[in-house]
Structures are given as C-alpha cells and as structure tokens.
C-alpha cells in the first residue's frame, strides 16, 4: 500500500509535470470514451428499440410463423393457431397479436408510413406502455389509435382527439405514449386487433403472432417444444430469445450493428494510439531517472508500477470526464428518434475497456523500461 502511494505520486507528478502532454493524453482518452460510449450506446439503444414490443410484453412465449426473422416483419398466422395453442398443457393464456404496415394521412396533407400494432382489447399481454395521455381502455372505440409523442409532429398530431386517416379509413388519436421508438422509422400506432384488421384491410381471423402466458410452474422449454411439435408451421420462442433474434436481424443484416461495433473498435484503437504515444514520450523523458532507480536496485516491477499507474490515472480521469460527456449527450438525445442508451452495465464495461485500453497502451513504455540497462546512468 505504502509502495503504491510513492509510485502513485511519481506517476501523477510525471503526468502532471507536462501540462500539454497531459491534456493531449486526456483529450485522447476522452475522445475515445465518448466515441466508444456513443457508438455502443447507440447499439444498445437500437437493440432496445428493435425489441421494445417484445420486452415490454408480459408474454412468456411468442408463437410466430415459421421463418420469422424479426418482430416488425412477421408473416400471416391463422388465428386458429391461438386455439390450438390454448389446448397445450402449461398454456394459461393465449392472445392474437398483429403488426401491419399502413399509410398514415396527416391532417394537413401528406402521408407517412406507420406500423399498426394490434392487440386484444383490455388487460392484455402486450399493448402500449409509457402512457402519458389516454388509456388502453380508450382503444375500445372503433376508430381509436394511440401514438408516441416522439412522432406526433412527424404524424401531424398536436393533441388527443385529432382525426386522421389510415389507409383512407378514419381514425382518432385517443392517447399518447412516450419513448417508444421504432427502428424502421415507421412509428408504431397502437390499436385493437380488430381496428388494425379494418385499417389494413386484413381478413378476419388473420393474426401475426400468438402471445402465450404460461401456467404457474410450467416449464417454458417443455411448452415451447410441445407447441412446435403440435403445430408444424410455427416456431415458439421464449421472450428473450425472440428479442435477440429481432435485434440481431436489424443490427447485423442491415449493417448498422457492424458499423457501430466498428466505430466502437475505432474509438478503442484511437485511444490506444494516443495514450501509447504520449505515455511513451513521457517515459523517454524519464529514462535517466528510471535507469537511476534500476542502478539503485529497484526491481523492474517497481518501474512497471509507475508506468501502469500513469496509464491508470489517465484512464480514471479521462473516463470520468468522458462518461460525463456521454451521459450528457444521452440525456440530450432523449427526444431524438435514434437515442443512445447508457445502462449502468455499459458504463461499467466502458470503464473496464478504458482501463484495459490505457494499460495496453502502456506496454510499449513497459518494454522500453524493461530494456533499460542500469549502467546507462553513467553515460
């Protein structure tokens, strides 16, 4: 502990001695943290956006037409599947659920593409959440829809009660949610499944999904297997599995995820290069002193500790500033249609990554110090 305090003092003084270099080091780390934080935050945000309908449902299982790759692009499913599912032991409740693209005609002209999300009326397994105004019960009206405030302006809506047309059929906005984004940029429009069928000219008896609530104590794996065995043209997924499939589809087949991961990696590389350069330069400046310590009999580990502590201090200070900036940006983009997210676990991972990055950057300096010959102190 005591030894750490002396090496920590040396490390800090070495860093702080050259203000310009310290600022360059910190700017490099902060830039890297912000880039990594925003890109990985967008990845998490996108992932949440693509799976919001699933993760906010109370369904234990999602029954989907075979080959479904994500929740937004579900194929048609005969509603009779719901009754077949209900017969399977372990199923307590099953509801039809339908998602359909449609054309929204704004009150002042112009159209927007929207995604109609239809569920059974009442207390259901999936429905709008984060309600600011109106209620799920309001959806029982024959023309009722609920939209999110994020897209109100885009859809030309200012207040509850406004009447518009969906696929040239009259609809009325009866409520607002907040924070429900869509990855496709076609806003979700919540309605009852009956209204969705009417708006979308979808035939009676057609659904997109069947949502299942399991009976208490039922094993989801067993029920899932039983459903797939009994109904050959569907697949059954546990909620988290279907969320992962949906998220992976959008993030990796569209290239968005790859691009975000690449940018995150770029941030890491930039950080390593900047920190390695400045740390190396600081080490070169102190070579005579390091050689003196070696000549005095200091073990190599003592010198490594000084350099690694320098890297650690840079990481802690740079991360603290960087993560504050990321938090501010995340907060500021709450109302944006593509919002990054910064869950606590991501902040922790970014901290670990930053520390790892700085320590990796220190290896060049450590190698240099390893090679110091104590007799060089006499040259």
């Amino acid at each position: 502990m005591g030894s750490w305090s002396m090496t920590t003092l040396l490390a800090w003084r070495n860093l702080a001695h050259d203000r310009v270099r310290l600022i360059a080091t910190l700017v490099g780390i902060i830039f890297s943290v912000v880039l990594m934080g925003m890109q990985s935050g967008l990845l998490v945000g996108f992932s949440r956006t693509t799976t919001g309908l699933i993760t906010h449902s109370r369904a234990d299982l999602w029954i989907v037409p075979k080959g479904t790759v994500n929740v937004d692009l579900g194929g048609p499913l005969d509603e009779r599947r719901r009754y077949q599912v209900l017969e399977i032991p372990g199923v307590a409740r099953a509801e039809a659920y339908l998602i359909n693209f449609a054309r929204w005609q704004k009150p002042d002209g112009g159209t927007e593409s929207v995604q109609l999300v239809g569920q059974e009326p009442g207390d259901v397994l999936a429905g709008p959440w984060n309600l600011d105004e109106g209620s799920v019960e309001d959806l029982r009206r024959p023309d009722a829809v609920i939209i999110d405030r994020l897209y109100a302006e885009k859809l030309g809506i200012e207040q509850v009660g406004q009447v518009i047309e969906i696929n040239e059929k009259r609809a009325r906005v009866v409520g607002f949610t907040h924070g429900i984004r869509t990855f496709t940029q076609s806003p979700y429009v919540f309605a009852t499944i009956a209204n969705v069928r009417r708006f979308a000219d979808s035939p009676e008896g057609r659904a997109g999904y069947v949502l299942v609530e399991l009976a208490t104590g039922a094993d989801p794996d067993v029920v899932e297997a039983a459903i797939e065995q009994r109904i050959p043209d569907v697949e059954a997924f546990q909620k988290d599995d279907f969320a992962k499939i949906s998220s992976d589809y959008w993030l990796y087949t569209t290239g968005a995820g790859f691009s975000l991961i690449l940018s995150t990696a770029l941030g890491l590389v930039v950080g390593i290069v900047v920190v390695a350069q400045t740390l190396y330069a600081a080490t070169i400046d102190r070579l005579p002193e390091y050689a003196t310590l070696k000549a005095m009999g200091a073990p190599s580990s003592y010198l490594y500790r000084i350099i690694v502590t320098q890297a650690g201090i840079g990481a802690i200070v740079g991360y603290s500033i960087g993560i504050s900036i990321v938090s501010g940006l995340v907060l500021a983009s709450r109302q944006a249609s593509a919002a990054p997210a910064l869950p606590f676990s991501l902040a922790v991972w970014l901290g670990i990554l930053t520390l790892g990055m700085c320590i990796a950057a220190a290896t060049l300096s450590v190698r240099k110090v390893m090679a110091i010959d104590p007799v060089s102190v006499f040259r």
Partner: protein
Amino acid sequence: MTALLQAHDVRHVYGRGPTAFEALRGVSVELQRGEMTLLLGPSGSGKTTLLQVLGALLRPTSGRLMLGEQVFSGLDLAALARLRLNHFGFVFQAYNLFPTLTAAENVQVALDLIAVRGAAAKRRARALLEDVGLGDRAHAFPAELSGGQRQRVAIARALAPNPTILLADEPTAALDSQTGAQVVGLFRRLADEGRAVLIVTHDQRILPSGDRIITMEDGRVVS
C-alpha cells in the same frame, strides 16, 4: 584491516570478435571501511567500467568480486539488484533526481525501495537532508536548487538505505570549486563514519582529501 569490497583479477570485454574491446585487464583492488579512495585515470582507462563492476551493475567477463565474505561475481541480475539495494549507494555526475519530486520526496523514493514508508520515511528523509545541510530545502524541487544542493540531495538519496559502500562518478565535475569542496567534505565525513567511499574523478582539486589514490591506464591499475 579486512577489505569490505574486493576485486581479484577482474577482466571485462565489451563486444565480441574483431571489434571486442577489453576495458579491464586483470584488475585487483580493495576498498576498506572508513577509507575514501579516489580512482583516477585518463578517459577510456577503464575507471567507469571498474566502478560499474565494483558496484554490482556490470557482471565482469572473468575474475572474482567479494563483498565481505560473499562472492557476488556470479550472481544473476535480480540478485545483483538486491545486493545494490542493500549495500551500495550511488552518486552520479548529473545527479539524476526526479525533477517532479521535491528533495524530500526524491529521498523517500529510495526509502520506499527498502520498504520504509509513510511518516517514518518522511522523518528519515528529513534527517538525511539535515545531515547533508539541506534541512531547510526539503520541499524544494531540483530546479529550485543549485548544482551543489542537487548533488547533496543525490548523496542523501544514496545514503537512504544506509549503505556500507558509496560509489560516486565525477560528483564534483559540474560544481564550482567552493561547492565541490563542500561535497568532497561531505564524502570525507561519510568515510570517517565507517563507510567505504570510492570516487571516480578527473578533478585534481579533491586529491588531497583522499586516503588512497588508484590510477588506471589502458584497463590496468598502474599505481
């Protein structure tokens, strides 16, 4: 009198093949407790190489080195580092102080290496600086000190582990005559306290202060 440090027939060759250079050619010397030995000779005569070999910084090509009864010429690098830490103090021409640490902190680094830390380290650093006449400059950074003061901080640092042997490489070369005399006086006192002191020097002014003078030429002790 028993020699504290002995070198028997030490040879050291730099490089190999046709470019090899024999810096030490069968050197035998002894350093005694309480004695201040001056090592003289022209540039390239092997003085610094001998200092490095005697100070366990450089393993000789052949020959035997003994610290008291312990033979250390065959030790590995880590063992040599431990030996230096526990028995040797070094003073360099360019001081080699950490410019970002105060005088007291520079001494504390040396104490840290022998696990003297915290308040005990602060007290000991203060006492060492007072011993070299710099008690009132403990919180000054090297840039705020004169050359002589920096060299005295370096001596205080070298004394931190309480070494029995002090090895100095041209310690007065960068100092004016008055400051140089003060530093030599300090080495004299340290020798009188029972340490073996070896000073490599070109400085003729300090010759009267030495107990013994070893002169080298072409890698050999000539007197």
